[in-house]
Symmetry: C2
Subunit: 669 residues, 2 copies
């Protein structure tokens, strides 16, 4: 890019960044601001005596330094006053000279406010550029080429992917490494169904070179036939070509003119809901200040201060040499936001969806863009909001039915083989439903087996096709939910449904159940494994009651869920101990954001939700955070081959004596 | 009706009944056939020496006598051969001279094939006519009028409803009674929010007179204000009038021309699915012979032989005198099918839905019709069937996304206050999802309380508004699912995910989980309370395997669910013991259809799923039936007042090594 075109680009960016004419303190860093951070940090490094001249800086994270709550609340009291905006700061993680630094950068005065060296275990999110280079290194490594030759494979058809390596109790300070595993395309694009087993290439990311190599065994590569998933495989010399999609084209014609929601800057308004939607290169979508309008009080009432996907823990259950370390912490190791993909209009989202872009930081500090990173759409799934047919009044039949429409915010995170469709759905009833759809490709292990009858010992999974074992694994997605149920100070109340036996003859009945509620005093009271359905989990504002005296609250309604099965002392579990319970509650602490820790790559589990919770802090009538872990045990089946249909997990936040009465009684169709 | 108009009517009915030009042995009785049954039975009674001349006959049930499986299978082998059709028979339950008779009626030769007197406990479904008369009896009963006067109530604004009375250990042979409870409309149509507490009117249904009365206490009636739920309350002298619904009118315009599914007679075909849909006055919708097309085998493969809602058990947890007996078995006591309501086009179902009517039998044997009892529609909820974005191949990005559309069959059962929206949803992936939405009105108890702080003793529920206690209760819906996974003989396999500790140093890991599968041998092995998610529940065809050797199967995937909390010895629980486990499996037995028994009104729990299961029959590699109970614990909250938003329960049947691979890999958008 020449200097003049660069200037033009910056100018355009400025125009775009301010085009919505409105600033919100939770707005993510705009492209111009990312560039500004790059300039400030680069200049700081080159001028600071702490750093050697000309040391190369890699940016691993650049995001908004979240303003303190008091300053947000002060701004909210009169948001039109721009002087009320909290100072605009960035939180930055860089690697310089094989060390990790955390910087706080003030954008208003172009300064680095603080610089902290990270001395502990664990490394920041690996950059996309590092992965790209590491994935290419085997092709310049003669022993690897020899291994391919030995197998008779055409190197041009081999692709490699870097796996994070975890931690397995090593005491010495570890190098920042990945283990590269490779696949043989030759006739398919579905690389994950064609693993070249038996080979591990160890790459040191700081030195960016191969530091270890093992070719243990030659194992058959599953066949390519039947693994491709593309609609059109023909090429016209310029890559894939698409058929004209007639049915989708028709849908465009049916598209309605204007959506029934508005997006002003990053603020989304729909029916009785208002919330802020931001993109972050670590967390992906962040929902802030979600509030629902209460016509009775003639005001918006807060439900959720901040909510995002905090970590994704995917431990595989295959203990073979090339597999045991596959215990991914996807969001922290690869970057949940970095791995978002552009949503395809008409297929990923309905025709009338509106799209937003997301901006992240490249390794060199420049900004990158994921176009269409979010879509927002109104969903009419043909459901009924409420209904009743009254036939109990003689000679009259009354039927009243209201249709349900909801608002969906969708993001897709593609973490290598898996695609996670993350939907935040807002309902007029006050319900927030979070649905995660898992689809994409399984990780498959190559094997000699061609028939299940041949399997005589532990195979760690299901034979999905000839030579293809689908490895057993879990997904644990931890959601950070800083609830503010009608205000900041909340309590977590467990309402147990208890069987009461009737003693004496005063009733014809011998039993019934009733509710016994108890507020969790400290963090240890608030660890819950869901499942029995006999305990209701309610977050109340103990300082407010409805007119008739019930505690104002919201219920956490888990969907079908599972818990961790690994032993407590297993290293992956030490790092991902948040998966032991589905529910944790902590007092708000700005530094506690990621359930597996800030530096999760090769972490030792020292900075995790489970560790913080051990402090057993008080959580009653405090500003508290709910951490909800949604789990899937995945025993693969043949229907998952060569690509799996979407499998959904879900949870809800549902008003529970939050309103004086049904808030949608007056809903119109 | 004059004889000539009656003839015309019959003629029209014949034309209608045969209009689809196709007969299926599972087709429900057509109106003409119901009339034929009425004629045959009436003539039989009047001519049979077993009955006194001129004894009045009440028809409590008339439905198809389900043909035997071999005759169905024989017909299926060449369905075009009408001679292959099994004999057309009806199953009839009548009451004559205070006794219950079961008749089998052959329609081909106009005869009663069998007549069995029911000597056991329990009574058949109460007829709508009986309920109507019973509900009116208090108004002719002077002590009741006096009670109204004492309370200063205008009798014209009082309406009453009959509650079944259950069984509480009485040894003597019971009369067929209901307990009538009343409500005060005066200013609302929401009668259930305005109970007149303290009064019970006992009505003997056989004598059809008041046989007991108690006015125990005067308790405030909750106010009417704010309880009405109608969109337009103004009247123009001819009852309610509707506003012009502009947004719905628009949707009609957007309606597509032809749906993507066909309904031929009662057979529905959509994408890869084919099934038969029938209406029954007890069970409501019955899905039969649900089969999915397998392009690899070029044939339809059976999944479900018969599926329907077998019973709905709703025990309330309020032990006060007017409430303890409210432990309803709605489907058997009031008739699940009898209580279906006509679906409202545009609101209960989307604009492009197709509707079907249902026919039932009136008390006198004539037929009645519920128009629009089912709707069938294709749903596009904006979901993704599957997707993947592949970024692992250098210099290429591949994104493939397929939209999901599904087919929904919807019915609404309005059981007095509650409306159940029952959706059978078929997915191209082979998944069958059953969703039950509970909406409508709570049962509310009148109380002195106007503020929660006043409650010092057990209130059995939540104060929802002044003087209104929402009673704690459960819903247990038992689904009868006669699975035929790729054939009749199936086994139920529990696949447990077991933690394995690694011993020795051969792995860096200390643990993993693996699967241990065991087929249930007998009924006692097959009782499961779901929840932990650590056991997969699979129905396999042990006689068939996929090409690579996996058992062909379908998984039962429970949604979030609950189990029974009543004690085993409590009378309601003895009658509704199927609620103790979410999963039961029995060998197919034509007489075992209703989890709470055939004669559930005032039953003693002698003919229930739990009782049948005690025989502990063999179920491995047999024609087996899965009974799945979906449970809700409902602790009411203010949002449920004065009408509750829809609350969903769900379960799925999902192919599990049923197909050789993902059956929707080639799906087109």
């Amino acid at each position: 890019m020449s200097p003049s075109s660069s200037f033009l680009f910056l100018f355009l960016t400025i125009s775009l960044a301010s085009s919505h004419g409105f600033n919100h303190p939770f707005d993510p860093l705009a492209p111009l601001e990312i560039t500004q951070v790059q300039t400030i940090v680069t200049s700081y490094i080159s001028s600071s005596s702490s750093f050697t001249t000309n040391q190369k800086v890699h940016f691993h994270y650049v995001g908004l330094e979240e303003p303190d709550k008091p300053s947000i609340n002060s701004w909210l009291s009169s948001p039109s006053l721009s002087s009320n905006l909290p100072p605009r700061q960035a939180f930055v993680i860089i690697r310089v000279g094989q060390q990790t630094h955390e910087l706080k950068v003030d954008l208003s005065n172009n300064s680095v406010v603080s610089n902290m060296l990270h001395n502990g275990n664990g490394f920041p999110t690996i950059t996309s550029e590092e992965l790209e280079i590491a994935n290419a290194l085997p092709f310049e490594y003669p022993p690897f080429i020899a291994s391919m030759d030995k197998r008779g494979l055409n190197v041009e058809e081999v692709v490699c992917e870097s796996c994070t390596v975890g931690w397995f109790g090593e005491k010495e300070k570890s190098n920042r490494i990945v283990k590269v595993v490779c696949y043989y395309l030759n006739g398919t694009v579905n690389l994950f169904m064609r693993p070249i087993e038996g080979i591990i290439v160890v790459v040191d990311l700081d030195q960016m070179k191969v530091t270890g190599y093992n070719d243990r065994a030659i194992i058959p590569i599953p066949k390519a036939e039947g693994t491709d998933y593309r609609q059109v495989k023909e090429t016209d010399g310029e890559g894939e070509r698409r058929l004209f999609r007639s049915s989708l084209e028709e849908e465009i014609i049916m598209q309605q003119d204007e959506p029934n929601f508005s997006i002003e800057g990053h603020t989304v308004r729909w029916e009785n809901w208002e919330f802020h939607l931001a993109f972050d290169m670590r967390a992906g979508p962040i929902i802030s200040l979600a509030s629902i309008f209460d016509p009775e009080q003639d005001t918006y009432r807060r439900v959720l201060y901040r909510g995002f996907l905090s970590e994704i823990f995917v431990p595989y259950m295959d203990l073979t040499l090339e597999w045991y370390f596959r215990v991914f912490f996807d969001a922290g190791e690869y970057g949940g936001g970095l791995c978002t993909v552009p949503l395809q209009p008409l297929t990923d989202c309905p025709p009338d969806a509106k799209f937003m872009d997301g901006y992240f930081t490249n390794q060199d500090g420049s900004f990158g863009k994921t176009p269409n990173v979010f879509c927002v759409f109104e969903r009419d799934a043909g459901n009924v909001l409420w209904r009743h047919t009254e036939t109990g009044i003689p000679n009259r039949v009354i039927t009243e039915v209201r249709k349900e429409k909801t608002l969906v915010v969708r993001t897709v995170l593609t973490l290598s083989n898996y695609d996670y469709i993350v939907d935040w759905e807002f309902k007029k009833t006050g319900v927030i439903t979070v649905t995660v759809g898992a689809t994409g490709l399984l990780e498959v292990r190559g094997t000699e087996y061609t028939h299940a009858d041949q399997i005589k010992e532990e195979a760690y999974g299901t034979l999905l096709a000839e030579n293809s074992l689908g490895a057993n694994h879990d997904h644990f997605l931890s959601f950070y939910l800083d609830l503010d149920i009608d205000g900041e100070a909340n309590s977590f109340v467990k309402t147990k449904l208890e069987t009461k036996r009737v003693t004496g003859n005063w009733s014809e009945r011998k039993s019934y159940w009733t509710t016994v509620s108890e507020a969790a005093k400290t963090e240890s009271d608030a660890r819950v494994r869901v499942g029995s359905g006999d305990t209701q989990l309610v977050f109340v504002n103990p300082n407010k009651k409805t007119k008739i005296g019930n505690n104002i609250g919201y219920r956490l309604v888990p969907g079908s869920n599972v818990g961790q099965l690994l032993t407590d002392d297993d290293y992956p579990q030490i790092r991902g101990d948040f998966s032991k319970y589905n529910v944790w509650v902590t007092p708000f602490n700005k530094s506690e954001r990621y359930a597996g820790g800030l530096y999760v790559d090769q972490s030792h589990g020292e900075d995790t939700l489970a560790e913080w919770s051990k402090r057993d802090r008080e959580i009653e009538n405090k500003d508290i955070v709910l951490w909800y872990t949604m789990g899937f045990h995945h025993v693969p089946c043949q229907e998952d081959f060569p690509l799996m249909p979407t499998l959904n997990g879900v949870f809800e936040l549902r008003p529970y004596n939050f309103f004086e009465q049904n808030p949608v009684l007056n809903a119109k169709n």
